[in-house]
Symmetry: C2
């Protein structure tokens, strides 16, 4: 009998090189010019699935980017089945954003690998894949069936995965679904999220004069669209940090005292992390809620980008014809993205001054999700973390979004478990994103301990 | 005896081709990569000056772009001397800004030439140059001396011309200085400006978190720099359209009833033009002042550009580390740009929330200027316009800026005359800038009539 943990440790170096191979493929799902790269990453994953012995491995075409699926059902129908979900697509990245090295040429430095997708979320994809490899490479074979589902559209709000899940209930049928993405409390303290925020992303464009004007010829008589957009943005929040769109909080579930007390445990870590990573002059936001609650349990409205007029080097005394902002709201359980879009859109229409015209366009939506932190599946995950990291995980609410979670929960009727081996200081969505190799290898161990626990029938 | 007007009309087609040659040179003074092109435009002008018989024609090197100078002093010391100023540098332009054709490949269509610089201000440069050519090509020679001064840094606020003027009083000595730039009331109604606004241009940058963050991981706890900048921009104006920086209006000279009545004459034209060109949903600004006064007699604060986060195609759920706005104020006589910069900078510092940090950087300054609309020089110009256009010009206050005007007035101690043959609908600083050829040729005639009037000794 060989131990899958030993196999994983003996092959650590190769696993890392394979992770780097995947990181080299710029699978940026939000930019049309990377469509071929996303496809290439999918094909790479399918090839590796086939190599390690997964069956039915394929890149499933969608209207957008492919879904990668593979399974090992060798434990038989009486054994439990785990469905693991991760995403292999990444956010855009350019050297000009502040990267010290090419975001798509992984660099190993000080026990970390730097590359776009290193922490969000190719290291999670590869942790699942390499855990499966380790389990299947040794004998006896495990008493658990494995289904791996890797998405290529998570960063574009999973436009096509929901339909696939709804039409693939039999294929995806499982006893537990592990969603593998996100961050721990810090580099040594595991955290087990039981809630993720949803998202609704939109664009707001303000139109003023028919075309760009000379600011000397018309300045003082035309409501500058940048200024009008700034006025609109200003009115999206109350001075106390809450979102001003009427009805925005109507569907938010209140936090009870027991949950607030449990969340409090992770707070020192979150505050330390905030000081280390965000490091703004001062925290900001709803003062009635602590940082953990603001990040995980409260909805937000964020300006992700703005453009208008001439803002490059030099100066152009233009009075611009238009200005554009990209806005997204993070939503908490029980909020509906479509409803929030309507509320925000109607509010922006209402506060748009009559001197300009505004257009509000929906970009994408993703539902928030919550799972029972006392379920046997979540407790099995907590045990696995404790074995791999030597510490009992905190229970946390995550600020990020995995849009497909609610669909998986609803369509498959299985308990969800959120596993993450990243750390918020790893620069997800920002420059110099990286993954700590020691955390990654402990992640693989955690998955193996979880399979071991599940295989003993503890789920039922 | 040949008539210079006849010469100009007979050579109209060649003059147009020469104007196009100059328009083909992308002399964008605000962008470092066009430094060589600005130099090329200067050399082109010097060569033409030499060809038509100007003396001492040269491109004078400065710390920035060259000054082009040439003169004809053949009328002798007893004859009056006219110094004409124009600028040959242009604003940036790219197809992507909304141009229908290449901004640096002039296209003739419907009696207009489309190109960057067509109206602002290479048609003015070429009107002066071709008027001088027409005057010198015929006999007898005129009883007026001509000095042409063409600047290459007007769009960057004349960083080096002021020093040149101060150190070249003897060379530039004249009885009247014609500043040739700007617009008429409409295509048929000439206007004679007697005041130009000054300018102060600055950048405001807001810094929040140490680096771009994942909006899910930190949204709700960090004051988004785009939002903070929007809040700052919103507070730069009062709801009534006036600028909110304390002291901003302290030095503005009040308009007396007589001047307001005179300005009123041009108002219908300005309102028609506003509807045709600006064409925003509604006018905006200080309601106590009419459109003409808002444009020419009141100072303004304009957002020329803004950038922050990810605003390209697609979506990136980033919480940006910084946001930048380009801001310029147009100033009216008696306001000091340096003082206004201090007031605005101090105010922005004061309203910057403690959750972010702001930096305010001065870009450039230009003084406002006013001339006596009853001077013999201005009256000579009014007569010249009447002869060329068949209509007495309105007296107007211009909204644009010619930063060097005050230096010329102060250093040379001469009366100023502002001549312009453009029209605000011609897209200065915007896409599809153009010049009407019929207006341009009437402009050359106006200059010739002005020389004729001056040569009769009417100035003294």
């Amino acid at each position: 009998m060989t131990n899958p943990h030993d196999y994983a440790h003996e092959n650590a170096r190769r696993f890392q090189e394979e992770l780097k191979e995947l990181l080299r493929i710029p699978s940026v799902s939000t930019l049309p010019q990377h469509k071929g790269d996303v496809r290439r990453a999918a094909d790479w994953l399918v090839a590796d699935m086939q190599r390690i012995g997964l069956e039915r491995a394929e890149a499933i075409a969608t209207a957008g980017h492919p879904i990668v699926y593979g399974e090992w059902m060798g434990a038989g129908e009486s054994a439990p089945t785990v469905l693991a979900y991760c995403h292999y697509d990444v956010q855009p990245a350019e050297i000009a954003d502040g990267w010290e090295t090419d975001p798509f040429e992984p660099v190993e430095r000080d026990g970390k690998i730097y590359a776009r997708g290193a922490v969000d979320s190719k290291s999670h994809v590869m942790a699942q894949l390499k855990a499966a490899e380790s389990l299947l490479a040794v004998s006896p074979k495990p008493n658990v069936n494995i289904k791996l589902l890797f998405e290529g559209e998570e960063e574009t709000s999973s436009a096509n995965l929901a339909a696939f899940v709804a039409s693939s209930r039999e294929r995806l049928k499982a006893d537990v679904c592990v969603i593998c993405d996100g961050s721990m409390a810090d580099r040594e303290q595991p955290a087990l999220p039981y809630a993720l925020r949803g998202i609704v992303a939109m664009e707001v464009e303000v139109f003023g004069p028919r075309q760009d004007l000379h600011s000397g010829h018309y300045g003082g008589t035309v409501h500058n669209p940048v200024q009008a957009l700034a006025e609109i943005i200003t009115r999206l929040h109350h001075p106390n940090g809450s979102v001003a769109a009427p009805g925005f909080y109507d569907d938010v579930l209140p936090l009870d005292a027991e949950e607030r007390a449990a969340l409090e445990k992770a707070l020192p870590w979150i505050e330390t992390e905030w000081q280390a990573v965000a490091a703004a002059p001062q925290p900001w936001g709803e003062s009635a809620y602590n940082l953990h609650e603001r990040i995980g349990a409260r909805p937000t409205l964020e300006i992700n980008g703005i453009t208008g007029g001439f803002a490059a080097e030099g100066f152009k005394t233009v009075l611009p014809a238009r200005a554009l902002a990209k806005i997204s709201c993070r939503l908490v359980p029980n909020q509906k993205p479509e409803r929030i879009f309507e509320l925000v859109r109607n509010y922006i229409r209402q506060i748009t001054p009559p001197t300009v015209r505004s257009e509000i366009r929906l970009h994408s939506v993703g539902d928030p999700v919550m799972t029972d932190r006392n379920s046997p599946a979540v407790q099995a995950a907590a045990n696995a973390y404790e074995k791999a990291w030597g510490k009992r995980p905190f229970f946390t609410r995550e600020g990020g979004s995995v849009p497909i979670s609610l669909d998986l929960q609803r369509e498959l009727g299985v308990p969800l478990v959120f596993m993450a081996f990243g750390y918020k200081g790893c620069g997800a969505h920002g420059p110099n994103e990286h993954v700590y190799l020691d955390m990654w290898h402990k992640g693989i161990d955690t998955i193996l301990y979880f399979y071991d626990d599940i295989s003993r029938g503890n789920l039922r």
